[in-house]
Symmetry: C2
Subunit: 481 residues, 2 copies
């Protein structure tokens, strides 16, 4: 395919993409396929000779689309949102064409510099304390990671390195293994499973701090476990606070937890993967109070800030903490400016070496929407969540299982887990809308997350009508049994 | 921006991309900017109100492009290639629009299933032993990782878990820390720095095995270190072989190393990040002989197989080895088909949770080029490398520093390191072509990597003429001193 054909096919693809997103409501949100559906539909091996583009595009509708879960359908209420916007798609096209690999400043200076400045922009949008920003030539700064799991892992590894150095400076006879055996990371019993996975990767113990009745970690709960663990000779080194848990969007009490972590020399990382985007609205910024105590903070614009996956942003107070955990410098990656202290080589801030030019997406989205446009998007979602909550509350067969603060509503039929499992099954089998469940202290609960950029009140009203219809059927059939 | 405006702007962007790639020769391959160039050119913070798209696009030429290192310029001979092709760009547009997050089968079935089948296609293209393929419902299978560093890390973590379990099954009193203190990973003294970084993340020791005169690890060199380490009470658990080292594209002797690893219960991972793509040509497949002894194998189609970054492919003989190292299963990620054994949840195969629909790029590229088209691309690059090598050999002031097997030529002026450093500096300062150096046993060597998809003999001839002109100047000025 040469440039001439690309011009033609690219424009067709632009129309295909616009059609797909404009008419996505008409597609069934969750596919009908069974595991293994695809293999019989395509050849056993790659073709020897080039095929016609028309045939590939035909197969997109015939083979690919029937197996897609349509995350951008306004009938998709599962997991958490993943972002999608036209400005981000345009930026990604440009980023793909430039196709630079930004592991060092020299490998493509703008790839590094735009990222640093965009992270400052975004930091200011959420009113992050200035120590986290790079602009004043302070010790902090921001970086784009692929996912929140990676951001937590990077923070945990930096914390591990600091803890090992500290323990060895106090007792030179300790081996790394001696110390690792005693290190303990902490997080909420409601935290995302990726935090536990990160601890497996880092090879350290993790303990889940019990949350209170509202699924929130309080200072006293952390303090209690810390005291027990220290008495048992363990070394607490890392606490991952969650703002907006996956289960029910609860918020750990940073203002209680932060001072404890600072006092105990524990690295506090804040995972606000979903909720973080809301902090651009002044009325939700209070949820971030206490971030000043944190060592690192992360959220995912690729969830709720209209920037396509992947774009998980992370700030640290001391960038040297990350760099010390990872820095390894071979000759083929050295460059003239490296020792100047003025530049950033982002490869020392992350797990992989290579990285795409992702800050372009932030730049396009911030400029095309403006802060106001992005705030509107957040507020619309929160409003729709409250609309759904109000519908649930009007039907006394149902209950709301957690405070609705942002765009997630946890609800269930009053009754057994089996009943609610049956309800969810009937909802997802009907394929009109798509939800996933969660487990709240043994209760099987349905999560209704406002997801699509284009979701409106009509979709919420439809979803609730549909859910109650299925609930009616279910309850009727149960009575008959 | 609504769909109507996206149709217009998207088509303009397609033209911009086509123009950029068609006329990339006219751009200076390496930018003139100094560290910190960007910040003064853009506002301190994000705009409150939306801006005009025209203004953003103007800034792309005014602010972004002057800071780009043009990796797809035919005058770019630095690092290793990163791939870029029109079919891959089209697939990425589609993938961006679908914007699904494929962490589990249910989260978008086709995202998982196409990946599994494409990895089988690609495995067959390089004639990988059938144990690595998923199609026969065997124990192996392939996965797309972001980068080779992540693939090595995943393999190392799986190996670490196996080694810990084995050691604890032999002696229940050993703690994880006791074992980690004794674990040793091995790799070539020529291996990519990311392998060492991975060992830092995994918290294990790493030793670099001395290579022979041709920068290759032989069986005897590994055996010697293993014997010493075992005698010292250490536990060898992981060996990362390199096919196509970053420094000089040398190939470790798999046929000697593999049996040793198998015998010693050491996980053998093969990193063929750059070279792996060449194995689709029968005449280069011999370089992969011995892969049958490996536990895992990885290469980067995003380097040399015309699939845009990121797309690093990895196969394992036993997928359960990866899954055991990572599997953590919360309710909100469970789905009906999970326990059927028929499906793959790729989140257990990788570090992050989220993942894009990257197999679409493989599918588009394989079908639009056909195996023959891809083979042609590889062969053209290898031929051009030999053309450059022959030019160097005709000038007896220069020397070739390593066998030219694929698309990399290591060369230098006969003389001091200072002389060669000065030559590289004058090459990169002139900005006509771009190269990076390497260190070969204390020798400062210039690396000339065939990179761009569109590079032709004329660019090679130009580059050599330019290098010799700068060398003439340099040698003349030195004589005058």
């Amino acid at each position: 395919m040469d440039a001439t054909e690309f011009r033609r096919r690219g424009k067709e693809m632009v129309d295909y993409v616009a059609d797909y997103l404009e008419k996505i409501e008409n597609r069934q949100v969750y596919p009908d396929v069974e595991p293994g559906y695809l293999r019989p539909l395509i050849p056993d091996s790659a073709p020897e000779e080039p095929e016609r583009y028309e045939d590939i595009l035909k197969d997109v509708e015939k083979i690919i689309m029937p197996g897609v879960t349509h995350w951008h359908s306004p009938y998709f209420f599962a997991y958490f949102p993943t972002a999608n916007s036209y400005p981000a798609l345009l930026a990604d096209m440009l980023s793909g064409a430039i196709g630079c690999i930004g592991f060092s400043w020299a490998s493509s200076p703008v790839c590094t510099e735009l990222e640093t400045v965009m992270l400052d922009w975004l930091g200011k949008m959420i009113n992050l304390p200035p120590q986290f920003l790079a602009e004043k030539e302070g010790e902090g700064g921001g970086v784009i990671q692929g996912t929140a799991s990676e951001a937590t892992l990077v923070a945990m590894l930096a914390a591990r390195m600091k803890a090992i150095h500290r323990a060895q400076s106090e007792n030179k006879n300790l081996t790394q293994g001696d110390i690792i055996d005693r290190l303990v990371a902490y997080t909420s019993d409601q935290a995302h499973s990726s935090v536990e996975k990160d601890s497996v990767i880092a090879g350290v113990k993790i303990k889940h701090i019990p949350t209170d009745d509202t699924f929130v970690v309080c200072g006293s709960a952390l303090k209690k476990v810390l005291n027990e663990d220290k008495a048992a000779g363990l070394i607490p080194f890392f606490f991952c606070a969650t703002l907006g848990t996956t289960t029910c969007c609860s918020f750990d009490k940073l203002l209680e937890l932060g001072p404890i972590c600072n006092q105990e020399n524990i690295w506090m990382h804040i995972d606000a993967a979903y909720a973080g985007s809301a902090f651009i609205c002044p009325e939700f910024r209070y949820l971030l109070n206490g971030v000043e105590f944190a060592d690192s903070f992360n959220f995912n614009p690729h969830k709720w800030l209209l920037v396509n996956f992947d774009c998980s942003v992370m700030w640290v107070k001391k960038r040297s903490d990350l760099i010390c955990a990872f820095k390894i410098d071979p000759v083929y990656l050295k460059h003239d400016h490296q020792e100047s202290g003025l530049i950033t080589d982002y490869r020392h801030w992350q797990i992989p070496l290579g990285r795409r030019f992702r800050s372009l997406k932030l730049w396009f989205v911030f400029r095309m929407y403006g802060v106001k446009g992005l705030q509107e998007h957040i507020r619309k979602h929160v409003k729709l969540a409250h609309e759904f909550k109000d519908l649930v509350l009007q039907d006394d067969r149902f209950e709301i299982c957690a405070d609705v603060i942002l765009g997630l509503v946890c609800f269930r039929l009053k009754g057994s887990n089996e009943l609610n499992e049956a309800l969810l099954k009937s909802i997802n089998s009907a394929r009109k809308i798509h939800l996933v469940p969660c487990d709240m202290r043994g209760k099987f609960v349905l999560r209704f997350a406002i997801c699509a950029r284009t979701v409106e009140s009509t979709h919420i009203q439809f979803a609730w009508k549909h859910i109650t219809m299925l609930a009616n059927e279910l309850l009727r059939s149960q009575k008959l049994q």
